[in-house]
Amino acid sequence: MGANFPLTEAVYYILLSLKKPMHGYGIMQNVEKLSGGRLHLAAGTLYGAISSMLEKGWIATASETGDSRKKEYRMTDAGLQVLKDEYARLQELVNNGKAVLEDAQ
């Protein structure tokens, strides 16, 4: 397993959101929706995560949208690979949890 794991919940959900281009506030709203209102990203945390992910090349700036000056971001192929690897890791956690907990019942 690579040195990138485990991802934080925020990074995992940001990657999930960026299958299509989105700006910061859009990501915030989408993550809240995806998590059923459980996870609300703090503005500073989101900004920090986006900056680091841009540096690592997991996401890229899509374009500045026409109607406003808001920056949009999209997931890169490298980001998609990171997301897939994390998904596999999470699945392992869930499968093992399932095996133990459901055996116990």
């Binding site: 934080t8 919940e9 925020a10 700006h23 910061g24 506030y25 915030m28 709203q29 809240e32 609300h40 990203l41 703090a42 503005a43 500073g44 945390t45 989101l46 900004y47 920090g48 406003s68 000056r69 808001k70 920056k71």
Partner: protein
Amino acid sequence: MRTKVRKWLWAWQFDEEEAWLNEMAQKGKVLVGYRLGTYEFEDCEPGEYTVRLEMLEEWPTTAKSQDYIRFVEDTGAEMVGRIMKWVYFRKKTEDGPFELHGNYAARIKHLRSIITLLVPLMIFNTFIGFYNLFIGITFPSVINIICGIVNCAVSVLLAGGLRKLNEKKKQMEKDAQLFE
């Protein structure tokens, strides 16, 4: 209507400051500006706004800080004041929750940057304080002795503040081992 309130809070009291500003907003007074020791409020609906403050990594006028401030404002918040590296934001409650630092790592980093700023200030003050006392006693000089005492008092104050910040940081580091 605008109201001015004079109140002095130290950098290490930022949690108390934020809590107080939100209490004011709950009472229908929201922050619109800050100048050293004076807070300016305007009337709002009680609970209409959430107020947050933080110390930026760089001065608010740098490109990096401007980019960050713009990002936060794009999420529906508005910067209402700044002093040195500190900035004050408000956001309408109906536009959703408003947090700047969501997890322990971010809060610890924020605390660390405040500590990093205050430690040299304390060391500098202590040094100047002892130097002044030394001069004041060697060549009897009341002014140097008074300055020396003031410098030392400021150092003691800073040391107390730093202790509080360190305790807060330690507690967070413990919690960070359990939670994100």
